[in-house]
Each structure stands twice: as C-alpha cells, then as structure tokens.
C-alpha cells in the first residue's frame, strides 16, 4: 500500500494526516471481479433471464421429444427397408436357388432393389437434426445411373417447413436472443439510470469496467447454456436414446464449446452497440433488427442469393440432356452394329434375319463387343462430364451461399453444430462421393454389358436377349463413408476461426467505443 500523501520531514511529532481510502490503489483484478459479480447477479435475477429460462425449460425437452420421435420413425423405416431388401434377395434366391452362386442372365428388368444402399439415420440427430432428414434414405444403382431415393423425413407439415425444432435451434434462436437482451442496456441503460457515472467516479478504469461487464454477462449466458445441454441430455436419456457413450459425450462437449463462442460473440456485439447508442431504446431496436437479420433472415436469403448469383440448372434439365444424348448415342450404336452385321453376314441393306446372326455368331459377337466398348466409353465420359458439371456448379453455389452466410455468427454456428454432429453438409458430400464411387464400380462390373441387343439395318430393326452372364455373389460391396477426427475437423476450423474473429472484433470495437462514451 503506497502512501500517496507525503509527510513533510519535520522533527516535531505532528499527527499523520489520514490517507483517503479512495485514493489507495486496489488491484485491478479485484475490481474486475467485483464488477463481473455484480453484473452476473443482476442478470440472473432479472425478468428477462426468467422468461428465457422458462422458454428453455419448456423448449428443450420439447425439441428433444420432436427429435427423438422423428429419429425413432426414421430408424423403424430404416430397419424395415433393410428387412425388405434382404427378403427380396432371399426371394430372388428362392425363385432361382442358384442365383447367388451361379451365373445369372442379367437384363434391365431385373430387380433394382438387389443393389440398394440404405443410409442409417445418425443418432445425434435427436439433438441436432441438420441435414439428416433431408438426405435420401437410400440410393438405387442401375444401368441408367444413380437413382436417389426419397428424403428420410419428408417435410409434410408446416412445422417442418421451418427447418425443425431441435437443440441447435433453441441455442441459436432463444439463447441468442438472451445474449442480445442481456447486453443491450448494459452500458446505455446504466447511463440512463445514472449509475454509470457513479461507478466510473471510483478508481475503476474504463477498460476494467467494460471487461467486467463482459465477463459477468458471459457467465450469465453460460449458465442457461449449461442448463440447456444438461436438460437435453437428460431428456434424450429419458426418451430412450442412449447418450452415455464416449462419442456422444465428446460431441456434446464440442457443441457446448462452439455454442459458448457463438453466444459470447452475440453478447459482445450487444455490448458494443450498447456502448455506442445514446439511449437503451436505440440499442434495443438496432440489436433486435440485427438479430432478426442475422439469425432468421440471412441464412435463407444467402441461399436464395447464391441461387441467383451462381445458378445451377435444375436436375430435370441435366436428366433431359443425359436422356437425349443417350437416345442419340444408342441409335448411332445400333446403326453401327447394323453396318457390322451387313459386313459380316453379307446381307443387304434393310434385310435382317435371325438365322444370319446365329450362323455368324462368333464373328458378330466379337465385333459387337468392340463396338459396345467404344460406345459405352463415350457414354460414360459424357455422363461423367455432366455429373461433374453439376457437382461443380452446385459446389460453386454452396461456396457463394456459405460466404454470404459467413457474415452471420448464427449461420456459422449452425454450420459448426451440424458438422460436429455428423449431420452437416460435409457429411452429405462424403455420402454422395461414396455412392458415386459405388456406381462407377458397378458400372465396370456389370452395367456396361447390356443384356438386350438391338440391331438396326436401314429401316429394319431386331432385338435379342444376349444372355449376358454375371455372378451376383461377386458384386463389389458398398463402402460407407468413414467419419474420423480429421474429416470432422477440417470443415470446422474455418467457421470456428471466423466466430472467434467476430468475438474479438466486437470486444475491441466495444472497448474502443466505450473509451469515448459520454457517461452523463
């Protein structure tokens, strides 16, 4: 304790002047903690906190109920689909017991379901639904290419039109609102009450005061966040979903951290606006408008804007292109085979006799195989290019949408939460990749050899079953996408970094603004 009042050095015994306690320096951390504690207590006992707490207590179990109900339905459907597919396979086996171990005549009319790949629902979608409901339930593979099944949870009712109520929604919207409501009158409200002037007349420096407010508000946000997470886990357990395994706990931990950063960034935004606005009403209006824009409006608008700025042709357009190309190519191929037919059998233009084919079967088959290979190659190249174009265009659009969405911390949080849960866009991409690879493998193994041959010779045409043989037990199995820490972390790093940038930006801006704030 430094004595700030210098005593004149005299010999006489003069009574020492009492040192003014207010002039002694107190350690800044103690002040910080005092301010923070005061802020924390004030928030926790306020009306806003109570209202939001009630909302959280009501909504979290409800959202977990909706999520687990939906998950149960998808799980049942999934299991039923699995049973149906294996039943179909065993039925096919029953019809022809040798199906799996012997060669079978493959024609395009064979049962598609033999090659179906069924996607299991993600358990964590009970808490964070993400894209799990919108992604297809299964994919079928055929000579005509990949066929996507219906979405796992088709949105039939208006509730689903909103993107669904889940824990991520509660955190993003309701707790986000709390973050704003706590902050808007932190500075401007105190100014209007007159307490700001009083507080700053003490030996409390402005940055310490502001940081104290920030820390207090942050803790008062982390309390309901923890409440939400714990309540969500409890509800999930009570409603029959297993949450006690390591994987789930790790995911919940990450979710908590990410949600914490999100809420703190919103809070610091609020504090910044409060340190700039003259009245708390102005601060509130500005913050509310920002909240509506950032949390509700920016994500869908970003998607729509991306559509306008970086348009992608509709799937129908791509399919029409593929169809017309395939039709033209097929006619060309049939004519080419007709020409070979004429060459080898010596028939004239316009004459086609089945007996001619059988007489020259060996030579014809060899030539036809060459022609088939060439045309299959051409078709595959074209189809691949179309698919690649579509993927590239979609990617571009996604990138544009994500870039626009990056201005909203709420959108960033949504991206992070879904990626960490295994229901995000990166998971969708990895499924699509796995499924495409499988189609390519099946093409090579089976589909490139068609079962029905059509020959065109002038105005005459002839269709025959070529009896292409294949062993179904040798069909290459599907390799599902693997989720490892590396595949999860890379899409997470950028949005997380951006959120931290937002947070620090608002903190610095708020501090700077508060330095110049008129406290009268």
């Amino acid at each position: 304790m430094t004595n700030l009042v210098e005593q004149p050095k005299t010999g006489s015994e003069t009574p020492a002047l009492p040192t003014a306690p207010s002039l002694t320096r107190i350690h800044p951390f103690k002040t910080l903690w005092t301010v923070a504690e005061r802020e924390l207590l004030e928030q926790l006992t306020g009306l806003r906190f109570l209202i939001i707490a009630i909302l959280v207590v009501l909504l979290t179990p409800l959202s977990v109920y909706v999520g687990s109900h939906d998950y149960r339905i998808r799980m049942e459907s999934h299991e039923r689909l699995l049973a149906l597919t294996s039943a179909n396979q065993s039925l096919a086996r029953g019809r022809n017991p040798a199906l799996y171990d012997q060669e079978v005549s493959w024609t395009p009319y064979n049962d598609l379901e033999l090659f179906r790949v069924i996607r299991p629902p993600v358990r964590f979608s009970v808490l964070v639904k993400g894209l799990d409901g919108a992604m297809p339930e299964y994919w079928d593979f055929s000579a005509g290419g990949l066929q996507t099944g219906p979405p796992a949870s088709p949105a039939f009712w208006m509730g689903d039109l909103l993107g669904g109520l889940d824990v991520e929604f509660v955190i993003r919207v309701v707790l986000g609102l709390l973050a704003i409501l706590i902050a808007f009158d932190a500075i401007s409200g105190e100014k209007e009450l007159g307490t700001l002037r009083l507080a700053l007349s003490h030996p409390v420096s402005r940055p310490v005061f502001w940081m104290g407010k920030l820390i207090g508000a942050s803790f008062s946000l982390l309390v309901p966040l923890a409440m939400t997470v714990v309540l969500a886990l409890l509800s999930a357990q009570l409603m029959g979903t297993e949450v006690a395994d390591r994987d789930t706990v790790a995911k919940v931990g990450c979710l908590f951290i990410v949600a914490g950063i999100y809420l703190l960034s919103l809070n610091s935004l609020g504090l910044f606006v409060s340190s700039v606005a003259k009245t708390q009403k102005t601060a509130l209006v500005v913050l509310l408008v920002s909240w509506v824009m950032l949390v509700l409006a920016v994500p869908p608008l970003a998607v729509l804007a991306a559509r306008a700025l970086s348009p992608v042709h509709s799937i129908q357009w791509y399919e029409a292109q593929k169809r017309s190309f395939s039709d033209d190519l097929r006619t060309e191929k049939e004519n080419e085979i007709g020409r070979a037919f004429r060459e080898i059998t010596g028939s004239q233009e316009g004459h086609l006799k089945t007996s001619d084919y059988h007489n020259n079967k060996e030579a014809l088959d060899r030539r036809i195989e060459e022609i088939e290979d060439e045309f299959v190659d051409r078709q595959r190249r074209f189809l691949n290019e179309m698919d690649r174009n579509l993927e590239r265009a979609s990617q571009r659009q996604s990138v544009v949408a994500n870039s626009i969405m990056a201005i909203s911390p709420a959108a960033l949080f949504a991206q992070l939460a879904t990626t960490l849960s295994g229901t995000g866009d990166s998971d969708r991409q990895s499924w699509i990749e796995a499924v495409r690879t499988h189609q390519a493998r099946l093409n090579q193994f089976l589909f490139d050899d068609p079962g029905t041959l059509t020959v065109r010779n002038g105005g005459s045409s002839m269709s025959m079953d070529r009896g292409v043989r294949v062993r179904l037990s040798e069909v290459p199995p599907f390799v599902p996408p693997v989720r490892s820490w590396t595949t999860t972390l890379s899409p997470v790093l950028l949005p997380a970094a951006l959120l931290c940038v937002f947070w620090s930006l608002f903190v610095f801006a708020g501090l700077a603004a508060f330095y110049r704030y008129d406290v009268r």
């Binding site: 039923r80 894209l131 919108a134 306008a308 659009q397």
Partner: protein, 521 residues
Amino acid sequence: MLWTITKKQLLINVLSYRFVVGFVLCQVLFVLATLILVNDYEERLQAYGEAVSREEERIGQARVFSDLIREPLILHKPPAKLSPICTGFEKTLANEASLTYYKVPELEVGRQEKNALLAALRSIDLVTVIQLVLGLLVLLFAHDAVSGERERGTLALALSGPLPRHTFLLGQYLGGMITIAAIFLVGILLALFLMKRSPAVSLDHTDWVRLGLIVLISLVYLSALYLLGITASILSKRSTTSLVVLLFFWIVFIVIFPNLTSALAARLKPVPARGVVSERASLLRTEFWTRVHAEASRDLPRPEHNFDYIKDRRVYSGGLAYPMRIFYAPREIMEWELEGLKRFLPIEIQYADKIHAVHADYEQQLGAQARLARALARFSPAWSYYNTASSLAGTDAETQLAFLDRARRYRNQLMDYVSSKDGLLSYRFFSRREPRSFKSTPELDLLRGQGDRLEQEIGQGWESVPPLDLRDRPPFNHSTFRVRDSLLNALPDLVLLVFLNLAFFLAAHVCFLRTDVRVGG
C-alpha cells in the same frame, strides 16, 4: 380530433429512425425475394412445359396400346401462378403423378433439390416476409405507442384536454396502421411490378381477386398484431418490458408454435410409418407374381417354336405368357400370349386396386393428422394467416391432393378409352397384326425355302408401322380450385383474424380506460 391524433402518430412514426430502417429493410427483402422467386417460377414453368411435351412425344410414338397404359404415363401439375407470393406445399409434395393399368397414382414427395442445404432451410416467400419481418416491425412500432407517450409525459398532457380516451386509442391505432400499411403496400406494389415484368407470369382476373384477398388478409393480420402490441404497451410500466414480452410471444407463436402443433397432432392422430405401407404394397406385388408364375407353369406351358419366326418380342419373363409388345410371332405363340393376357391382366388390375386401398388408407390418416394440425394452428394468428394465404394462392395441401384425385379419375377414364378401342384384352394390346393373317409354324416352314418370302412375311420392325392415332383420347385437365372454393376454405381463418382484431381492440380499450397516465405510472 381523431384525425389530429392520427396525423400526429403518423408523423411521429414516419420521422423516426425505425421507420426508415424498417421501410428500407422491408423493401429490400420484398424485392430480393420476388426476383428470386419469380426466376424460380419461370424455371419450374419451363420444366413443366418440357415435361408435358416430352410426354406428348412419347405417346405420339406409341405403336400398340400397351405403350399407352403399361409404360408409366406421367401427368404433370403446372406450378401455381401465385406461388412466388406463397409457396406453401408446392415444393414438398410432388407435382407429377404416374399411372399405369397396374398402378393407381399415389402420394409422392417432391423431387429432392440437388443442394440439400436448400431443402433443410425454410423456403422464403412474400407471405413469410410479411408474417415474420413485417410482424416484427409492427410489434416494434406498437410496443411504445402508449407506454412511450406515458414515459415522455405527453400522455398525461394529451388526455388533460377534452379528448376521450377511446378517440386517443383509435387515433394511435389508425396512425400506426397507416404507417405499416404504407410500408406493406409499397412492398407489394414493387413485388407485383416485378412479377408482371416477367413474360412467364400471366395473371387473369381470378388471380387478381385472389391477390386482393391475400392483401386484405395480410392487413387484417398486421392489424391484429398491432392491437396486441398496443394492449401490451398499455399494460406494462416500461416500454422495454412490453417489447420483451411481445418478443416472447412472437417467438412462441410464430417460430415455436408449428412444431408444437405438429408434435401434438402426431401424438393425437398417429400415422403408420411410410415404410409399413410400402412393405404391404411390396408384399401384394410379390403375391401377385408368385401366383402368376404358379398358374402359368401349371396351365399355360409355352408351345414349341422357332426363334427365327419371332421378331421383337418383349415380355415380362421368358417363360411367361404375359406380353408387352410382339412384332411378329407364329400363330401358336400369339394365341398362347393372348390367353395369358386375358387371364392375368384382370388379376393385375385387381391387385392394383388392393395396393391402392393400402395407400388410400394411409393417405386418409395423413390427411386427418394434417387437418388436426391445421386446426390447432389456428391458435396462432401468424399461422392462421399463413394457411389462409396458402389456400388463396392455391398452394395448400388440399390443392395438391385434389390433383392426385383427378389423376386417379383420369386413370379410369383412360382405361375405359382403351377398352372402347378394344385395346385392353385383345391382340391390339401388344400387336398390330390382324389375327387372320397369323401363320402357324408349319406354314412358316413352307415359306422358308422360298427366297425372300419369309422375310417379307415377318416384316421390317416397329419403325415400319405408323404410330397409333390416339388423338381422340380424353384430355387431362388440371384446373385449380375456383376462387369461391378457396375463399370458403379460408373463411374460418379470416373470421378468426377479424374476431381477434375486435377482441384485442376491446381489451386495449378496457385496459386503457383504467390505466394511470402519469409518468412512472
């Protein structure tokens, strides 16, 4: 007196910060949303046109009657002209229905967007912007209509003169509503202008009537919200409290409510999983094919034949008498195929009806659940409004289901047409040859040694035969609801909203009569 108060409130509003911000925000959102939605509508309309002409072309190439009713015939529903205004269920339920003689059209979900991100987020349309953003703006204006005046001290001053309280209240209300209506109408006019500019959009007078009704109901909705806001403003001591309370209600009624009602409806009227239905349908089809195989192998063995005498024969399965298309075959084969057709086709149609019964049952339960959810949603003025707008725009679930109904009726019409042309249970189902011209195998053996005679007899192939003239087949018309039907559908919600207006006004009036007008009161 009333006009003075109104004018004053109007001026206060218009000259405030939030009016400018709100006005600009709303117009930007309206313009953006309209541009993108009209673009999307144009694309969908084009896709519809292409799909219809593709189908026409395919049917124009039909050589035998099985080409018409065995290959799936796809019926398309054009996108609703007012769908940029309110998208409703347009994209979630499929806009096409496929039918064959063995399949009755069933309810299908919409085609998945390539970008699944789009599918997961809420689709934005103009009614959504009005419901959410304008709704919030209304609350923002209303929350300090009375409490703000009270805090500034001007309320006590105003009421100290010969100004009856109800006149003051009415004036506040009118002033606020005119402000909101101005923002709203400018936005709507901009949107309509952008819509009309597009060459693909052509609105007839029924559409204009519907639009007018949507504008009307929007104003009624916004008015109800405003009155609610005023009531909250009267009841609370500080305007920030009223704003927080109003926000709470806004979140609950607009954002949380639909999930609640869906969950409740699902609980009260559960529906079996879709998988159960597909499974039952699949089992029925398996039952049919097992039966056909058993009966065919027992009663209809394939006669001996020479491959050389058969041209372009497409059937369900090599050894089965159930033809799709046969260009040429000897008499014995043709007669055998016809027997199989006459025997198995009616059975397959019966099974189609059985499978349809399973689907219809499921759809009925879905419909009951949806109706319950919609009834429960009436508790929220925001969703009551959305559902009504959706009905008026022709994008609600009922319209989609009506299309499905019409598709089913069309299937029956088409089957009757084919029967009338003797194309269903006869040779004309799968062949163009006259039965009298069939030759048996011995007769064909004779022709064999006579040079070209066999080839001439068999013929060149399907291209040498002209397509069937099917221009007299019944047309499919996909007319939408009449305006009167839409209005009747929307009437309960409209009445409810008007009633809410009156109730809130009454509440505001009663509360205002008793309220303390002093500062800090």
